[in-house]
Symmetry: C2
Subunit: 595 residues, 2 copies
């Protein structure tokens, strides 16, 4: 049961039929070689890697976990070897620039790989996963020399990268950070301080690790305005590019976590480590956001991964486990009992998983189109618009999908009953692994503040209105079975706009109104966006329900109906709670909050 089968059918449907990626690539000026066949073959190869190399390490990664031996991290058996296959297959370079050894494919393709290897084994996938943010950051802000020294080795997969932000006393509030950087005569900096929760912070996959580190340069101001970004390699790099002596980066401990045991979450002590400034002095937070946005998209995909994993296994179990008879009469009278998939309440759980997983996938593909536009858009206006759009979609994706991914993982456990709670079956690990997605890369509460307090409020909802306008325009073109869904979604975009205006007006008098509404507001937007994905899926599927693969397309229509009947109504509660204001949230004094 710990195996994994990539849902290629649905990946293709979302990619080509819902999101029309081939035209998208053509409009970005990609070679006509990048057609459906080519993308499919990349997905298929990625699926093989995930199914054959990565998925088999799922359980062992959890049980063995990582060990810190003589200051070096030992990863679970087989992890290193699977990375070797990954690297040799050229997967690390897929979506990076050709001038640094990459294959120059768009991010939308790379993200689909993230889904397959991530569903196969999220903890494993984080080792290569963290590198992407480091590459993107170096690509955008690094000097030529830094790119030659570090970026090329990250692209080839020879080395991997990390992101070092958090310190024991500061997670969300990076302004408090204490790690300091003292400038040296040779232009480098001496970095000193403690960092915690560094995913893939040390491991045995590769010869060198490239840390991207937030620190405060000597003489810089307090708070976020004095933060700079540095590249700090585990081993110094000689002028000829060969690996030099060990840098002052010490792994002082590993976190003992609820899940993702296969990934080494490190405490790192920087002890006069040699580092190099990336980008401008005191502009580190801005540079860091490049990394963080990549990581947040990765975490959005994580939500999808855990939902998909739960769905696959619980569907299989529900078809297999015999228990009680259908209320409408025995469906398999020759067997001792009916398989539990005949029971409506079990179906409710399976259908919820299916509806969230498939809409989530379509959403991720839609989101990564924006990332493609930022990189390859024809002009600055296009890039800027895509950047604003991605800025809205990312916090929704991160918070909504990890929240629902966790829900779906828990539904998976529930379908398994008692078996779900014990380690002989793969459901409880999935729940434990899924839980971190709601916390790291900015908690889901922080995502909701980012959405409403920054992305929506700072441009007076212009970016939001551009999105809702696009949705309504699409809704006008919907026909047939998609039409009633489009009508609902179109109406919801108006509701969201109304909610936005009301909250922003209240927030002028009391800024706490933003925080009081933000989480429920984000979730409302998430359900609305998934509803749009379902309307688009119906639009794409409805003409194909009598052709080849008819059952697949018919299931799309039925699942959409389920989503609108049974999941989307949650927005009725969210609208009411988001609009109920901050008063009853804020009214208790500290004394009243006593136990």
């Amino acid at each position: 049961m710990s195996d994994y089968k990539a849902p290629l059918n649905d990946m293709f449907f979302s990619f080509f039929e819902v999101n029309d990626m081939v035209s998208h690539y053509q409009s970005l000026g990609f070679d006509s070689d990048l057609d459906e066949d080519m993308v499919k073959s990349i997905f298929e190869e990625g699926a093989k890697l995930a199914e054959r190399e990565v998925a088999p390490l799922y359980t062992i990664g959890d049980r063995q976990g990582c060990q810190l031996i003589d200051g070096e991290v030992k990863t679970p058996d087989g992890f290193k070897e699977a990375y070797q296959v990954y690297r040799e297959g050229g997967w690390s370079s897929l979506m990076h620039a050709e001038e640094y050894g990459g294959q120059g494919l768009p991010q939308s393709i790379g993200s689909s790989l993230t889904e397959t290897i991530g569903t196969a084994n999220w903890a494993w996938s984080m080792y290569p996963g963290l590198s992407h943010g480091a590459m993107e950051t170096l690509h955008q802000y690094g000097t030529d020399e830094q790119k030659q020294t570090y970026l090329t080795r990250l692209v080839s997969g020879e080395w991997t990268g990390t992101m070092c932000l958090t310190e024991p006393h500061c997670g969300t509030d990076l302004g408090l950070l204490r790690t300091k950087a003292v400038p040296q005569d040779d232009g480098s900096y001496q970095i000193s301080g403690s960092k915690i929760w560094i995913s893939a912070g040390d491991h045995d996959f590769v010869d060198n690790i490239v840390h991207i580190v937030l620190a405060r340069a000597e003489g810089s101001p307090e708070g976020v305005k004095g933060i700079s970004l540095f590249v700090v390699p585990k081993f110094n790099v000689n002028d000829d590019g060969s690996i030099g002596e060990r840098n002052g980066v010490v792994t002082t401990g590993l976190e003992h976590k609820m899940g993702i045991h296969g990934n080494a979450t490190c405490m790192l002590s920087f002890e006069n480590a040699k580092g190099y400034l990336i980008g401008d002095l005191n502009k580190g937070l801005k540079c860091m956001f490049t990394f963080m946005n990549v990581a947040r998209i990765g975490t959005s995909i994580q939500g999808l991964c855990h939902a998909q994993r739960a769905f696959q296994h619980s569907l299989e179990y529900a078809k297999d486990r015999l228990q009680m008879r259908s209320l409408t009469g025995a469906k398999f009278p020759d067997m001792a009992a009916d398989p539990i998939i005949v029971h409506p309440d079990v179906r409710r759980m399976l259908m919820t998983q299916k509806a969230i997983t498939e809409a989530g996938r379509a959403y991720i593909h839609y989101l990564t189109k924006q990332a493609d536009l930022i990189a390859y858009g024809k002009d600055e206006a296009t890039k800027k618009a895509a950047d604003a759009r991605l800025g809205l979609l990312t916090p929704i994706g991160k918070a909504f999908l990890t929240d629902l991914g966790h829900e779906c993982a828990n539904l998976g456990m529930q379908v398994f009953g008692g078996h779900g709670y014990v380690k002989d079956w793969p459901m409880e690990q999935n729940v434990r692994d899924a839980r971190i997605g709601m916390i790291y890369e900015g908690t889901n509460g922080i995502q909701s503040l980012d959405l409403l307090g920054r992305k929506v409020a700072l441009d007076q909802a212009k970016g939001l209105r551009s999105l809702t306008k696009e949705i309504r325009q699409w809704c006008k073109t919907a026909n047939g079975a998609a039409k009633p869904y489009a009508k609902t979604i179109s109406w919801m975009t108006r509701e969201l706009e109304w909610m936005t205006i009301r909250i922003l007006m209240k927030a002028r008098k009391n800024p706490d109104e933003i925080g009081a509404a933000s989480f429920d507001y984000l979730m409302f937007a998430g359900y609305m966006m998934m509803g749009w994905m379902w309307a688009r899926s119906v639009q794409a599927a409805q003409s194909k329900v009598d052709g080849p693969n008819a059952e697949f397309y018919r299931a799309k229509l039925e699942t959409a109906q389920f989503y609108f009947d049974r999941v989307l109504p949650r927005t009725r509660a969210l609208k009411k709670t988001a609009m109920s204001g901050g008063k009853s949230i804020m009214s208790l004094s500290a004394e009243q909050f006593a136990l």
Copy 2:
């Protein structure tokens, strides 16, 4: 941080002011000694036991877990010694009959003890907890000899009990069970078969364990109609009551679970074990329900326990952890940042925990009043009515409170951010421990079928209408600040009645309509009942907001407002989804459900 403080203030408020337990005891004919002072002193002593003896074993129980050594279970260090204190304090006998050595106190008092020791350490509390069901079953159905032999030793805490239902191929569907019982010449039975998931199935607290076992007697019919109940001791008992030779009950393994590691979840093999029939032949399921109903009330309380534990710790953390400034300006300008309790989204989580915990507690007290009435009611009609009422309240309590307990545990983790996910802090264990509540003693899906398909449907909603009528009558008496809440709840009882009629009518044509609606129906009822608890709490608190303990009473009013603003609106979604029918749940064929 692994300590625990019993919320005595709120326990007293719910017990005496909301639920008026002293008059209740007087009306049941209890001695006037059983007054507020006496109950308070029992609660206070129970709190000391929980805080001093049981809570300190919380973390070690999780980390060490149980071990099976030479066929015997070794519990974590200190567990056995704490039980010794429990036993010597007479806590096992609290609510059991005086003629068998008990103290004859009502169940409502015992359940409050369940809350305190359960919040301190749920896994530990299950060892004595399981005994209560065994005692109740023996008390109700056992022969005089069985009572003398087993019940007296369970009451004194000299021995403990278990409940052996599940087999590898049958959990919910007990009709499939294979454990067999062969009658012997001496009137005993030889029991053979495999049982799994036996909580506290073996341990080192006591000299003997009394298993209550479901099995099929030789010659009995297939299915549930051929199931009988047996008492099977770990050690046979000699005629003089002394412990005899080892019976054929072998612990063949321990489950490796996600949580509640401190409790031994055993696989037991009955190998020609000597057992004795309890109650009538082939009426085992009915007898077993006595046990199960006790266990389900216990599990309802478990939901409350995890919510309370999460609330205590996250409140403390939120007052302590400094991160970011309040959006309305620095609240503690002298500190590096404000404590996170100033942020509305953190408060949303804390207030949700508080609102659920306090309403849950009032609900449990209300529920156990019914249990008291069954045992001590003045006439058969009273007992019967209480039994019907408890039959409604139990599945709601079990499913709603474990579901929300899990949500509150997860909110606790969320308040802690990254710290919540690591084992140095007590939040991730609470989430893992809480998760089982939704599964065992009948999954929450099964509870919802029990509520709607059995308890509500079988008497044509008569029992439900008796409850809604009581609620509306109370609502008429509400005044002041309680009045608007009462109005809302009164209206919701009408909605629930309307939903009930509609679903039952649809179910006449298609029985699957029950299963399609049941879970959302139960949750609707749960939120409504908690809303009623809040209305009752406001009614009780409002006259005291200017007296002693004023902040406590004012917080009640504010928290009620929060509940009605931010939690109760979830019923808007649940009503819609519960009423959306079975079609879109059931429409997918097996082929369409393929991956």
